[in-house]
Each structure stands twice: as C-alpha cells, then as structure tokens.
Amino acid sequence: MTAAPPRGPRDRNAALRRRNLWIWAFLMPTVVLYGLYTVYPIIASYWYSLVEWNGFEAEQRFVGISNYEAVLADPGFWNSVWVTVVFMLLVAPARIVLSLLLAIVLNSPKLPFAALFRTVYFLPVVTTTAIVGVVMQFIFDPSSGPINAALQTLGQSKGINFLGESGLALLTVSAVYVWKFFGITMIYWLAALQTIPRDLYEAATIDGASAVRTFRHITLPLLMPFLLIITVLTIEDTFRAFDLMQSMTGGGPFFGTEVIEIYIYRWAFAASIPQLGFASAAAVLFGLFVMVFGFFQLWAVYAARRLREATR
C-alpha cells in the first residue's frame, strides 16, 4: 500500500497561514468600507461633538462639553425629542395592532383573493418615501387636494389644513407613515402566523371553540415571542422618519414635525452658518437614545427565544 507522504507540521502551518490570508482577503472589502463609513463615523462623532466647527472646510476648535451644554439647554432639541417620542407612540401601536388584525384575516385559507390583497396592502412599502411625501403634500392640500374636495362634498365647507397646524401636521404625517410602512409589519405577522401549526386550529374547531377563544388561547400565546421582536423592529424603524418628514413638512410648521434627525440636519446642512460641532453633539445623544433600544432588542431576542422554547 502506498500511503501519501505524511504531512509535517510545517506543511500544515503553511496551509493554515494561506487559509488565513484568504480569509482576510475576503474580509477586506467589508473591513474597509464598513470601517470607513459606519464604524469610523460613530467614533468620529464623539470627537466632532467636542469641537466648535462652522463648516466642513473650516477649522475645528476644541471646546470640551460646551456643545452638549448648548444642545441640552436648547428647547428646540427637547422639542425634537418630544416629537420623536410622540411620533413613535402614535405610529408603533397602530402599525403593530392593525397589521396583526389584517394579517389574521389574510392568513385564513378560507379568504378568497388573499394574495391579491397582500400585494395591494404591501404596495406603499416599495415606493420611494421622499416621493410619496411630496405627493401627499398635494393630496392633503387645503385648497385643491382631493381629501379636502371629498370633505367639501360631504358638507364640510371649510377645508381642513392638515399640514398647516403643528399638532394636526404630526397626526397627518403619522397617518401617512402608518399607511406607508404598514405592509412590512403585516408581512412580519404573516410570517409569524405561518409558524403556528394548522392542526391546532382544526382541533379547536372540532372542540367547538369560538373564533375569539381560539385567538385568545391559541394564536395570542404562540405569537408572544414574535410580538416582542416585531415591536422592537417597528420602534427602530420609527427612528428613520427623516425621508417622510423632510419631504412632506420639512419639520414644520413651527417645528411641529421636527424629529431628531431633522433637527440634526437643520443645524448641520440647512443653516446658513452650519454648527457641525453642535449638530454632532445632538447626533451623539441621538445615537445613545437609539442604542438604548438596541440593548432592548438584544434582550427581546433573548426573551423571545426563551418564550418560544417554553411554549413548545
């Protein structure tokens, strides 16, 4: 028998080294791009938040924590935090609960045309938010938009200025946001519902359980782990409302729809003299705010796993 010559440790080391070289070659594009455009900016923000800096080509002067003091003392910042939180509280429950109800109906094998309906309700998701925002400006226009025209034919003679009053504008934008992103949450729920074995429902039907009872005792408990995940994903989504706000209201009227991202944008890019250090301090605070929810997410994934194992 002629065996292959035994490979010495030196051979194996060379092979291992060559393998590691390949591994790092494969990692390089991500290390470079992700490092430059995601990791570095996160770190650089901290430095920028400590300098006075009035333009991208201007000089930076170290000023310590005075930017933070200025941001925290600015009522405009707290307004944007408030708007962000109110927006989140308005849209997240609406998205989560309404889409669950719709998903349950659409998930039933008895419903005709279910696939068509899914497509229709999902359609706004794929459209460009910034363009939808502009179109919505016109749809809600007080003088000649179709919504006010419809209200007039219904007897409401004075038009409603949906985007002209700060309180109402936030509600209007929230409604459009729910309409726009509703389909994603619906798909999440449909995916979750598919994991529930159908024979459980058949057993319940044979036992004569009502639809409400079936929902309370079968559907809801089995959906609990998904509820956690979907809630966190939906909340994180609401931090990215810039596209819709900027294109539909620009943060106005009177800063009534100015979420934190628009606040940062205004100080960094829309001001005649950019306050980049100040804006960076706001960005860092925003990052910390988001990070809290990131931890919440890790916890939710962990809790969801345990819940799923417990209900198995």
Partner: protein, 295 residues
C-alpha cells in the same frame, strides 16, 4: 423559507352541501370590506397617475375624480426633459446598480468566512457588526460628509455609491453567514480532494448555492438604494446634476411650485420602475422582509 409558507395553504375541500355556499358568505363580506379599504389604500397612486395626465388647471380645480377630461401627455415630456428627470433616472440607475454590486459582493465574501471559518478575530468582527446593526443615517452623516470631502469624492456619484454601499445593513452579512454555516461540509471536501483552492471552492460551489440569499439581498438593497434620500440629498447639494429621483422630486417642488401636473408626472416616472420590479419579483421582497422576523 419556501413560497408555500407565504401562500395560503390549501385545505382539502369537504363535500359540498347547500349550506356550504352560505357558510362562505361572511368571507365574501370580508372580501368586500378588504376591497374597499384596498381601493382607498392605493388611491394616492391613482391620484398621482391621473394628475400626471391632466392639465395644470384641471388638477387645480380639485375634485376626487380620477379620469382626466383631456389627456395631456406633454406633462411627461416636461418632467423628463425640462425638469431633468431623465438625468435623475440615469443617476439613480447608476447609483443603485453599483451599490447593489458592492453590497452583494462584500456581504457574500464576509458572510462566507464568518459563517464557515473560525479564525483569530472572528468573534470581534461579529461583535462589532452586531453592535452597529441599527445605526440611523442621521447619526453618521456628518463624519461621512467630512470623510468624503477628504477623500475627494464629495459631490460625486462615486462618493454617493461608496457611502451607500459602505453603510448598508449588517443583517445581510448575518443572513449570508447563517446560510453558509448550514451547508454540509461534504460539498467542499469533495472539491478540495479534487485540488480546488480556497477561492475556487467559494466561487464554483458556495456562491452558486447561495443564489436564494443573493437574490433577496440584491433586491432589498435595490429597494433601499432606489428609495434612498438623506445621503443623495446631502451629496448633491452643490451639484444639481447629480440628483437622484427622490432628491430631484424634492427640488422640483421648490423650483416649480405651481406645476402640479409636471410634479405628478415626475412622481410616476420615479415610482413606476420600482413598483414594476416589485410586482415581478414579489416573492423575494416578501421573503426577505419576513426573514427578519423568523431568524
């Protein structure tokens, strides 16, 4: 996830009785309600298409009706040529395709080694990726602009592409890693026996096997980039000819405040390609999004 799980599962028909039709009545009621809501749901798109075919005065006179009195096709020519949406379309296509290629290549390579190999530093990389899973653009935009200025790619499509391709979502790498991890080891062992090297194994065996993941990643990246707004907005401040469709639309309203029908035509031009793509490739969009919850 297979299509069968998204499509409603078929239940075996029971024997038809005269009552069966009656029992289905509530469901047809539900269909009616869902259809009405659905019409309301897509009304904004209908309004946009109809306004794009009306004369400016007809759009202004308002009303809920969708059928134009006279079809004014000229609105499209105005949006495409005068308002520059032809140019914006080209920019969007270039930026989107290049970004998709960058994201797919770098995520596939990175996901492959993270999913299949243990090496010094792998846990650190995964840790960093997970820690930065959800970073909003508003947080990173200032350093990105400064960095692009120093690299000399600010105010260029290249700069836009690099920033979009570099900052794109970590979840894709994790999806690739998860997929490559569960492929059986025998696949590559056979190839290594035949003398295939590291790259050959990846290129001829692993990458073709990961087609379903690649399709999903490419589509979701396509969607995100086509619709991107914040970054293209900031990168085209001083160079209007670099605007993408979404930024062009925003500028259009500022520059032509009264041209409603032109605006609507521009909106249709911008949205139709992505909607058409979605209608053709629904399954992948839906599976990609559903995957976020299942994994």
């Amino acid at each position: 996830m297979s299509t069968a799980t998204i499509a409603t599962a078929k239940v075996p028909r029971r024997a038809r009785s005269p009552w069966a039709a009656l029992r289905r009545l509530p469901w047809w009621g539900a269909v009616l309600l869902l259809a009405l809501l659905g019409l309301l749901w897509i009304y904004p798109f209908g309004w946009m298409v109809s306004a794009s075919l009306k004369s400016s005065t007809e759009v202004f006179s308002g009303g809920v009706g969708l059928w134009p009195e006279v079809f004014v096709w000229e609105n499209y020519a105005r949006a495409w040529d005068d308002a520059g949406f032809g140019r914006y379309m080209l920019n969007t296509v270039i930026v989107t395709l290049a970004t998709v290629v960058i994201v797919v290549v770098r995520c596939a390579l990175c996901g492959y080694v993270l999913g299949r190999y243990r090496f010094p530093g792998s846990r650190i990389i995964v840790g960093i990726l997970v820690a930065t899973l959800f970073v909003p653009t508003g947080y990173t935009i200032i350093p990105i602009v400064k960095l692009s200025l120093e690299l000399g790619v600010l105010n260029s499509l290249t700069g836009m592409i690099l920033a979009l391709g570099g900052a794109a979502n970590v979840s894709f790498i994790l999806i690739y890693a998860g997929y490559f991890r569960q492929l059986p080891k025998e696949l590559e062992e056979a190839a290594i026996m035949d003398g295939a090297g590291f790259f050959r194994v990846f290129w001829t065996i692993m990458l073709p096997l990961s087609m379903p993941v690649t399709a999903t990643v490419a589509l979701l990246t396509f969607l995100a980039t086509w619709n991107a707004f914040f970054l293209p907005l900031v990168f085209s401040f001083s160079r209007p000819e670099l605007r993408t469709l979404s930024v062009g639309m925003q500028a259009f309203v500022g520059e032509n405040a009264t041209d409603w029908s032109g605006m609507a035509a521009a909106g249709v031009i911008s949205i139709v390609p992505i909607v058409a793509l979605f209608l053709f490739l629904q399954r992948y969009f839906v599976e990609g999004i559903a995957g976020a919850v299942k994994s």
